[in-house]
Every structure is written in structure tokens, then in C-alpha cells.
Symmetry: none
Subunit: 194 residues, 4 copies
DNA sequence: CATGAATGAGTATTCATTCAT
DNA sequence: CATGAATGAATACTCATTCAT
């Protein structure tokens, strides 16, 4: 008796997850071009051929990996609000972004390993917009509605600052004083409630 | 008339510079792994064989390239002072770093392309310290001598901020408002001399 | 009510036909090596596994395909006569061969795609004899009994001519003037009755 | 002291010829898809890498091979005449084509092995026109200027006939009575001088 | 009878590096 | 000092075939 469709679908989903997670991990550790398909397959405990059963190519693996990470990030942060942002919400945003960073170091490493390679970035342009666009929009809106004189500059500044903080933390999670730095940012923007 | 030894040495040095500059340019544009030795040789107008006469390997090219860039950067910035930093000097530092960024975009692209690839970074660890170590030291010293409560945190913060600013500017030199952001940093630290 | 043995056998035969026809079609369109088992299975609406239930291998598919085509061709043409061929019968032969060509373009494409690949042809040597041997025999017999001086040469000539006609027609069915050419052959051999 | 440009050019030409000849031979023997680059390299006594130093890809090898064969054939046959064809010239054409066939069996095998594979033919469309176009033109012109009623049909017929003759001869050079068949064609068209 | 997940050997292609001249 | 022909190991990807269910 053959396996049911559902059984097959389950197997597929499990394997797909296993493969993409392994790939993300290796891309994060070693970069895109230094990771071979053989290596991914070996680490995932499957054959090279099977990988191609689930993903079209190495690029596909990269794109799908980035896509799922980006979406997962977006859901965690929740930019999608139409009403005006309150101060406490920017605080929430800051907290959640730094929380996500601490808890998902691997994913952030993947992100930075990947976007700083010109050729690799080209592959991901579309997927990257999922993250960058709503984030910038939200920041601009916040600074605008809170009476900052140059909201675009403010957004660019905070964006750069967060980018740098992530970058430094990824680079040396042990020694970079991320909590102290977060406190400083909160004070800078006067975000503490009460 | 045969060339003198000195002339030979000069030719040698010129060729070496030409090669390394070509390599840096290509690494910046396309990343380390997407640039082939053949390409570098072709663009530099020499043969592959000759390249190996001057540099041991592709890795060597990378290391020497980074080394020369780092030194050139250090000389431009001049961290090496033992006396206490004055405010106007931090201003100078900030100005010169952003100036250097604007004028040497290619080199900064190279830097970011290269340090964010874990495997490639491994090759460069030693060379990177030339830049990062004195910079951090200088910042810490400055904040300490200017009465900041947590000089290490302040240094880490400013470091991250500058890192982020460079990263954003490299990514989109046209649209990132670097001058406005610089102004904001100057105000933040109250650096404007009157 | 469970299916009877006979019904099962019928289903089997239908599936087998479906598979082999699909295979022939694809081999004709894309060549043997450019057609994958997956593709055949997909187009036939079955699983790869099932295909192996009916046929041993890709080669087997090719051989059985050729075998069935060859037999179908032979039955259409009816070479198997012991009595001496009359003129009108050669006319019939010519007509039926060209008719078959026009109506079964796919099969002829398959034939030519396949026999002109040396390695593939090796696989089919036995099956090919089903066609070529009786055809040559018949022609030789005809020319002999009709008083031609060199029946073997005549047979070889007509064989080559028909081979070329088929080849040209397969290649460009729209532009090759097959009817005019047929007329010319009929005149050449003075085959028109009365 | 480095090799001179001329020396390098010589080496290149020799190797290029060696490679392409080996490739043609193998494509003729085994077909395009059944011949691997490794095999070609091995038979030519060079490394796979070197092949790619001289030819861009396997397809390039095929195209360049066909191109050179086609040109060599064209030069042997000499279709390029503007004046009206005389009878003895068609005889010359027939003779030279069959001569070429006998002497260059490998090349003709290559041709037939290659053009009958749909996918492979696509690659060669442009190169094939070098042969087919002038040949058809010449035949049509001949039949026209010699008062045949349907010159296009005549050309198509002769074309098909020659195609078939070549095909049969390639297939069984020992047993196909090519000389007898040639004689028959000469008689058919009444080409014998005097 | 039927499925499609899984394998592994095979293929074209790239590229840092060596070396004879 | 200078050349580029030559190598070989590595890489992404394909596909006929097997097999547990």
C-alpha cells in the first residue's frame, strides 16, 4: 500500500526544513561561496541528489533561506501598523530587535555574511526589501509624528546605529556591551516610560 | 645601457602596486571568491605567471592588500598620540574618517566585502587588528579623559555607530545623508568649537 | 466487487501502451538522451516506480518502443508474400509507405532520431532487422522477377531513395514536395496501372 | 626568456586542431551526448582543463567542429558559380560529393549522428545552412536552366536521393553498392559526356 | 497495483597554481 | 623579468534506478 499524500507531504516538509536550516547555518559560518552543496548534504545527513529534489539550486537555497528568515524576523518585530507610533512602541521595537539578535545569532550572522558580498547580494535584492523597506518607513513615520525636524536623517541615523550594533555584536558577542549600549540608546531617545 | 639595480627595484615596486591595486578594486567590486587570478592579471595587463612572481598566492594578495589599506588608513587618521585627546581632536578624527570614506569608497567596499566573510576574515585577522585596536584604544582614552562615566560603553557605542554609518554609506552612497548624520554626531558629542 | 483477473490484465495492457506511446513521443521530440524517465512518467500521469513495474529500464522502453513500431509498420506494409510481386503491388507498397509516413510523423521522427545515434542504435540492432530485412528482400525479389539486370543495385537504389525521402520529409514536412516526388518515382518505375 | 608570440600561436593552433579532430571523431563514433569531455581529453592526451582553455564549452566544440567540416566540404564541392551549370558540371558535382563521402567517412558519420538529434540540431542550425543552402540553390538553378518542368521538385528529389545514398553508405560502407548506384544516377540524368 | 523519497555515480565547468621556455 | 600552456582537484547539478510503505 502506498504512502498517503499527507505522509509524503510531511516527509517533504521535514526534510525541506532540515536542509534549509543546515544551509543557513553553514552559510552563516562559512559564507555562501565557501559552502559546498556536498557539505550541506553531508551535515544534513542526506545525499546531494536529495537536496536537488527539494531545492532547485544553491541560489534557490540561499533565496529561500533568506526569505524565511526575513519573514520570521518581520513577524517578530511587527512593523505593520497604520496608526501613529507611540514612544513606548519604539521602545518595544528596540527591545524586540535586540532580543531577536541575541536569540538568533546564527541568523544574523547569515544575514551579514551574505549581504556584504556584492555578487551574493544581487541574488537577494528582492528578499532583502522585505526587511529594509518596512523598517525604514516605520522609523521615518515615528520621527515625523514625534516632531523631529529632520525625520529622514533621524531614521537614517538610527538605522545606521542599529546596523552597527548588530554588526559589532555578531562579531564579538562576548565582549560587546550590548545591554549598556541599549540603555544608552533608550536614554538618547528618552524612551523610558514614566 | 642596461638598467641599474635601483631602476629594477623601482619597476618592481611599481608593478607590485599596480597588481595590488587592481586586486583590491576587483575584490571590492565582485568579492574575493568571485574574482579570479586571471582576471586580476588581465586587468593589470600582466601575465598570471608574473603575478606569482610578486605575490605568493591569492590569499597573499588579499593579506597584502588589506595590510597596505589598513596602514594607509592609519596614517590618514593618526591615532598614535600619547597625550590626552582634546575635543577638537575627536572632531578632526570624525572629519577625517568620513572624508576618507567619501574619497576611498572602493577601499571601504573592499573592507566590508572582505571582513564579513567568515572564512576570508580568518585570513585577515592579524591585518585587521592594525585598524581596530588603536581606534578602540583612542576612543576609550578620549571618553575616560573627558569624564564620561562608562568610557568602554561609550567607545563601543561610537564604534558601532561609525561602523553602521560606513556600512550604510557604502551600500547607498547616493541616498544616505552622510553629512546630516555627521552633523548630528557632532552635536551629540558637542564637538563644535565655537 | 473486486476486479477480475481479466480486467487487471486489461488495465495492465492499457497502462503499458500509454507508457510506451508517451516514451516514443518524447524520444521523437527530444531524442533519447534528452528525455528523462521522470518526464515520461509525468507526461503519462504515473509514478516513476510504476514505470519500472512495467518496463525494466530506459533501454527496455526504447527497445520495446521500437519493436512495437516496427511491427505496426510491417503489418501496414505487408511484405510477407511469397508469390511474385506485380507492378501494382509495388505501387501499393510505395503508396502505403508514404501514407504511413504522413500519418505517423512522430514515429518516423523517433526512428530517425534513434537510428542515427550509434550508441543507441547498438541497442536496437535486433529490432531494426524486423523492418530492413524483409523490405530489402521484397525489393530484390521484385526487381529480379521484373527483369531488371542488376536487382541488388536497383533495390539498394530505391531503398536509399525512400530513406532520403523520409528523412527530408521528417525534417521539413511543410516544404518538402512529397506528393510531387512520389509522382516522379511512380513515373520512373512506370507503375501507373493501365 | 619567454616564448615568442609566434611560438605560442603555433602551440595553440596545433592543440586546437588536435582537440577538435578528436572531438569530431568521438561524436561521430558515439554521438554528442554519449561523448564526455573527459573522454575527449583522454583520447587527445590532454587534461580536461586544457580543453576549456581552447574551447568555451562542449557546445562550442560541436559548433566549431561542424563549422570547419562544413567549410571544408563546401570548398571541395565548389557551389559558388554564377554562370549556368553545364551537364558535365553536375557530373563533377556528383563525383566530388561521392568521392568526399568515401574519403571522409568519419566526417559524414559525424554529420548524420549530429543532425538527427533534435536537441543537438538546434545548436547547429546556423552552421548547417552553410551546406544546405548553396547546395539546394545550385540544384534548382541547374534543373531550371536545363529545361526541367518542375525544377524545385527535381532538386528536392535529387537532394533526397543523395541524402539517402550517403545515409546508406555510412551505415554499411562495405555492402552498399555505391559505385553501381552512382552509375545509375548518371544514366538517369544522362550525364555521361560524349 | 502505486508512490515518490532517496541514492550515487556521472557530467560539464572553473580556477589557483606550476613550469618550461 | 615574463609568458601563457598545462594541470587537477573541486564544484554545481542530473538522472536512472531502488525501495520502504
Amino acid at each position: 500500500m502506498p504512502k498517503t499524500k499527507k505522509q509524503f507531504a510531511e516527509i517533504r516538509e521535514e526534510k525541506k526544513s532540515l536542509i534549509i536550516e543546515t544551509a543557513i547555518e553553514l552559510f552563516a559560518e562559512k559564507g555562501f561561496h565557501n559552502t559546498s552543496i556536498s557539505e550541506i548534504a553531508k551535515k544534513a545527513g542526506i545525499s546531494k541528489g536529495l537536496m536537488y529534489n527539494y531545492y532547485e539550486s544553491k541560489e534557490d537555497l540561499l533565496r529561500k533561506g533568506m526569505y524565511s528568515l526575513a519573514n520570521e524576523f518581520i513577524q517578530n518585530i511587527d512593523f505593520n501598523r497604520n496608526k501613529v507610533l507611540e514612544k513606548y512602541e519604539l521602545l518595544t521595537f528596540l527591545n524586540s530587535i535586540i532580543d531577536h539578535l541575541k536569540k538568533n545569532l546564527k541568523f544574523w550572522k547569515f544575514l551579514y555574511a551574505v549581504i556584504n558580498q556584492p555578487v551574493v547580494f544581487k541574488i537577494l535584492e528582492k528578499e532583502m526589501e522585505i526587511i529594509s523597506e518596512p523598517m525604514t518607513k516605520m522609523l521615518v513615520k515615528y520621527f515625523k509624528s514625534n516632531g523631529f525636524k529632520k525625520p529622514e536623517t533621524e531614521a537614517a541615523f538610527l538605522n545606521a546605529l542599529l546596523n552597527g550594533v548588530c554588526s559589532e555584536y555578531i562579531f564579538a558577542p562576548e565582549s560587546f556591551p550590548i545591554n549598556e549600549v541599549k540603555k544608552k540608546i533608550i536614554e538618547m531617545y528618552n524612551l523610558k516610560s514614566k
